[in-house]
Amino acid sequence: EPEVTQTPSHQVTQMGQEVILRCVPISNHLYFYWYRQILGQKVEFLVSFYNNEISEKSEIFDDQFSVERPDGSNFTLKIRSTKLEDSAMYFCASQQAINSPLHFGNGTRLTVT
């Protein structure tokens, strides 16, 4: 069964540094998402992406965050200047059609020191 893949599985970075989290969604999916989860708690919506533009974003997704689908395959989340509170598990998800289930990757654990 096709899967969403995320790299790296774990990223450690210093406060103030830029990080890029990478995702390869399922190939025939059209909608893409980033979520984050802090310490195994609530799964928080960050951003949705369709037709090469952001569809919705949360208040968490401020100017430090950006997303890109540069080559029709990868879907990336960039954090320009990381803060300690950005430490979390970041999940990418893709979806074939609106209201169909989201398929999640296994996540990237981001640790900001």
């Binding site: 919506f45 949705s48 289930p101 999640f104 996540g107």
Partner: protein, 112 residues
């Protein structure tokens, strides 16, 4: 505001007994509801969904969920729990055009 509530942080069940994990929702328009399961260090796996039709929805691994419009609930159920069902369970609903919002999660612990 759109929201999903899971009132129980943890549910403890003995193996072989029925289990229920509760979920209530508050969304505008027709609710599109989902259950996901998360095992340690893994992503969320889709279990089942309600879009329209029968109020009792059957999903993966013997799970089912009952949609109740009057109570705005979508409780997850299984007739006979297994130890391997122990995991974190999330209820979710669409809270916008392209935005699936999740409840806080319920940790299910099934004891032998």
């Amino acid at each position: 505001a759109q929201s999903v509530a899971q009132p129980e942080d943890q549910v403890n069940v003995a193996e072989g007994n029925p289990l229920t994990v509760k979920c209530t929702y508050s969304v505008s328009g027709n609710p599109y509801l989902f259950w996901y399961v998360q095992y340690p260090n893994r992503g969320l796996q889709f279990l089942l969904k309600y879009i329209t039709g029968d109020n009792l929805v059957k999903g993966s691994y013997g799970f089912e969920a009952e949609f109740n419009k009057s109570q705005t609930s979508f409780h997850l159920k299984k007739p006979s729990a297994l130890v391997s069902d122990s995991a974190l369970y999330f209820c979710a609903a669409y809270g916008g055009y392209n935005k699936l919002i999740f409840g806080a999660g319920t940790r299910l612990a099934v004891h032998p």
